[in-house]
Every structure is written in C-alpha cells, then in structure tokens.
Amino acid sequence: MSEYILEIKNVSKFFHGLVAINNLSMKVKKGQIYGIIGPNGAGKTTLFNCITGIYTPEEGQILWKGKEIKGTTPYKIAELGILRTFQTIRLFAEMSVAENIMSGRHIKSKQKWYNGIIHTPAYFKDEKENWLKVGELMEFFSLSEYATTPAGDLSYGIQRRIEMARALAAEPELLILDEPAAGLNENETIELTKMIRKIQAMGVTIMMIEHDMEMVMSLSEYITVINFGAKISAGIPSFVQDDPVVIEAYIGSDEEDDHA
C-alpha cells in the first residue's frame, strides 16, 4: 500500500455537458492537513461531493487506501471512515446538540435490528458507551452547556462546532471540512485553528476548503489550487502563495467583481 490514504486520479465531473471538475488529480498523505483553495465556483465543493459519494464523477478514479470508491453511496463512504462537514451548515435543527452529535455514533453503535423494539443488556451497554462518547465530544468542543438546546437555535459559530463534533463522533480517518471558518469572527477562527490542530494530533487526516488565507496557509502542509474545475497550482503553502498563476487567478476574479 502506498503512503497516500486518498488518491484522486484524473477525475472529471460534468453537469449537463458543462465541466465542473476537469481532469483533477491529487494525493493526500495519512495524517496530513490538505488545503484546497480557489475562487468561488471553482468546483471545490463539487470535488468534496464526489469524494463523499453525493456525486459520481464521469471520469477518473478515486482511491481510498488503494481501493476504488467512485460511485459508492454516501452512507458506505461514511462507514469507510470518511466524514464531512458542509459549507451550508446541515444540522438536524430541531434536535438537541447531544442528539445531533449522537448521529455520528450511528456507524459505531452495535445495536441489533431487534433493539429498536426490545432492549437487551447489550443494548444498554452500547447506548451508554455512545452517549458517554457524545459527552466527551461536547466537552472537547465546549458544547456541554447546550446539550439539550435545539441545534438550530444556536449561533453560527457554535453550529460549526456541532458539525465538527458530529463528524468526529464517527471516529473518522479522513475528516473533510468545507469552509469551516466561513461566518466566524476572528476569535472563533483562532479557536477553530487550535481545534483542527488537536484533531490532527489525534491521527485524523484532514482535507479542507477554506477562503481564510491566513488560516489555510498556516494549517495546511500541502495545498491544491483549483480554478474553473482544473488544478492550476499545487505545493507547500509558501510556494502556492507566491505562484504567479495563483495570484493571477485571484486578482483576475477581483477585477471581474469590480466590473460587475
């Protein structure tokens, strides 16, 4: 087996004949924080949707630990250990914070089909283990005081933390974060940066899309830059930062904004 946990090889995804991802390749090492940046509409979230099975790319390969996972349904992708958060937060808004995080324990729970109707000693043991794990995560993300609060009633920053806690509850090997700092204030972003480092220290590989350049440059060990669905640059942060192609892509898009 290679040192790469996830390999994306020449992946293309089309929507009604329009290319959303164009012959994209990247390799993620185990334990790495891998950043993906690019202007809006570059196809970054589409790429994440391809990895997590929400979309099936028309061309190319997605290899997880050397095995093809393209076309696998989202719930099986999660069972493989690939968990994600969403750019537009997707919590179970009416349910409490604890119940939201408990959804991450679903794939770890060992309850049998009949435990939905009748409870057994094994059920009680399993149920308690999972709730205690939820308790640990609430403490880690400073959410304990909101345990019974409906997730939808909480602020944006807290909701982002709940999403991360929920994904982490499934004990993922690869955590995919789609713009984790979007909508956060400066202090919250600093807290988030610390938290992502702690998660990495647990041995979790992290892929993230982020527009906050300071954060993504300080956290990522390797960055791929996407524009119009294609890779325009890749490398360590200091290289990408100074790459004229990247500067062009960002400044170019700014000029377009000015004209609009």
Binding site: T52, G53, F92, A98, H106, T149
Partner: protein, 316 residues
C-alpha cells in the same frame, strides 16, 4: 421529581383503566375502538412522523391484519389466539415487498403510490379474488378469544385487551425512540443528505419503519376484527388512511401525547357530537384546517432533547 407530562400521563392511564366502570356498552365500544385506532395511529406515526415518509395507505396494513385473523378463523377454523402471529407477520411481509420498490420516491410521488396500493387492496377485497374475503360484505362471525375454556366475550374484556395492546404499542414506541433505529429515522426525516453523510442508509431505515409500522397496525387489525366479530372493505379504504395520516399531523408528529389527542379529536369527538349528524364534519374539517395554520407542528408537538441525565450536568 415528576414532570407535568408524566403526571398527565398517569392521570390519563388511571382514567382509562377505570373507564369501563362508568359507561354503557355503546360508549365502551367507542372506548375500545379509540384504543385500537390509537395503536394504528402510533404505527402510522413511525412511518410518517419518525421516518418522514408520506405514507397514505396505512389502512391497508390495518386491514391486512384484520382480514388475516378473519380468514384464518372463519374460513380455516383457527382459534383467534393462533391468528395473532400471522396477523402481525402478513402485513410486515407485504410492507417489505410493496414498500421496497417505492421507498426511494420523493414525498409527493410516494404518497400517490401508497394511495394506489390501498385502492388495489380494496378492489381485491371487494372482488373476492381468492374466494376468501367475502366480497363487499366482508366476513362475519369471527370468534372471540378463548384461553383454557375462558371466553373473553364481553365488551369489558374487549376493552381491556385493546388497553393491553395499546400498552404494548407504547412500550415499543418508547424503545424505538431510545434506540439507534428511532434516532436514525429522525435524522433522515430532518436532513437526508446529512444523515447519509453520517453513515445512515436511508433505504434500510425507511423500510424498517414500514415493516415495524405494518406489524403494529396488523395487531390492531386483528383486535378490531375480534371486537366487531366482522370485517368489511370500507373499514380499510383510503378515507380511513387519510384519517390516520391526519391524526398524526393534527396531534403532532412523533409525539406520543399528540397522537393520542389526534385520535381523540378525529375519532371520539365526532362520536360525541353524533346528534348533529353530518354537520359535525363541518366543524371537524375546520378544526383540521385551523390546526395546520395555527399549529403546523401539531396540537402537542414533539420535544427533542431526551438525553441521559449524566449529559445534562452542565446545562444551565
């Protein structure tokens, strides 16, 4: 320390337990049917209120249970007791094979498909296709429950049998809500994409809801057929399915007290106002409309956040 809800629940339980002592036989029958319909409404609520599947053919599973008992008893001479297991298993089997091909459909499409199943079911019953269902008149002369020579024939016995059935249904609902299975249904209901991304198979849990819901409805059907010692197609038509669907939405999806209130409003109140003849349905229709406008989540909405107490220690 008991909260308000459990106190109301216990008061209600005591009232329901002594109800047969205060009423005549007609009201006793209304009480028994209320209990049976509550069980059906709870089973509808597993599919509609928990898994969020817009299923409007639930009277079919109720009818499958009733007809299983009626056919096995009247046509084949089985004792009622022996028909209980088949009256649960037959609806479960049909739920599995019928819901399987339509489970992936979006809410409105699935709703139409389930109505279709219900209509076909009624057609089969009325046309007496296998010579077993007795056609439009149904089947008469269903036996009573006999255990070791004791005959459970009186209305009071019927009432308490239905009471025990409701107890069993509530026990199952509570267990479901506190398990991985019940929670998975809620997650799917609230956000399918997020649920899938957490490793939850939408298909599996929606089918699970259908099969468990159909089994409970079947048990209620068996009880219903014994109570009236007869079954006929019109008790299980689409209008009945609409009633069970409405009970859940008016009372409160996934809310145990809500579904009981819903059944009371939709079934018992019309009986109370029987003297107003069909005019009572005017009020009834208005009540349905007003509830949806004023309380879109139902009269007694579900409350989430039932988590173990050891996780609440930091809650302010």
């Amino acid at each position: 320390m008991m909260n308000k809800t459990s106190m109301i629940a216990i008061a209600l339980l005591i009232f329901m337990g002594f109800y047969p002592l205060f009423v005549d036989s007609a009201w006793l029958a209304v009480g028994t049917t209320f209990l049976v319909f509550s069980v059906v409404a709870f089973s509808q609520d597993i599919i509609l209120g928990r898994a969020g599947v817009f299923h409007m053919g639930h009277a079919m599973f109720f009818g499958l249970g009733a007809y299983t008992t009626a056919i096995l008893n009247v046509q084949f001479g089985w004792p009622i007791l022996a028909t209980w297991a088949p009256s649960v298993l037959v609806p479960m089997f049909f739920a599995f094979i019928l819901a399987g091909p339509i489970i992936h459909l979006r809410g409105d499409y699935l709703l139409v498909a389930t109505i279709g199943f219900n209509i076909i079911f009624i057609q089969i019953l009325e046309n007496d296709i296998f010579g077993l269902t007795g056609g439009p008149n149904g089947i008469f002369g269903i036996d009573i429950v006999r255990v070791f020579g004791i005959e459970f024939a009186s209305g009071t016995y019927m009432y308490y049998m239905a009471f025990i059935l409701l107890g069993i249904a509530l026990f199952i609902m509570r267990n479901l809500d506190r398990s991985k299975f019940g929670r998975a249904m809620f997650y799917i209901n609230k956000d399918e994409i997020a649920a899938q991304s957490m490793g939850i198979s939408i298909r599996y849990y929606k089918l699970y809801a259908f099969v468990v819901g159909a089994g409970i409805a079947g048990a209620a059907g068996s009880m219903f057929s014994v109570q009236y010692s007869a079954v006929s197609p019109e008790a299980f038509n689409v209008t009945q399915s609409i009633m069970f669907f409405t009970i859940v939405l008016v009372g409160g999806s996934a809310s145990l007290p809500g579904v009981l209130i819903g059944t009371f409003i939709m079934f018992v109140l019309p009986e109370v106002f029987r003297e107003f003849a069909t005019a009572r349905y005017l009020v009834f229709g208005l009540a349905m409309i007003l509830t949806m406008i004023l309380r879109p989540r139902g009269i007694w909405p579900v409350r989430f956040g039932n988590i173990p107490s050891y996780l609440k220690k930091d809650v302010k």
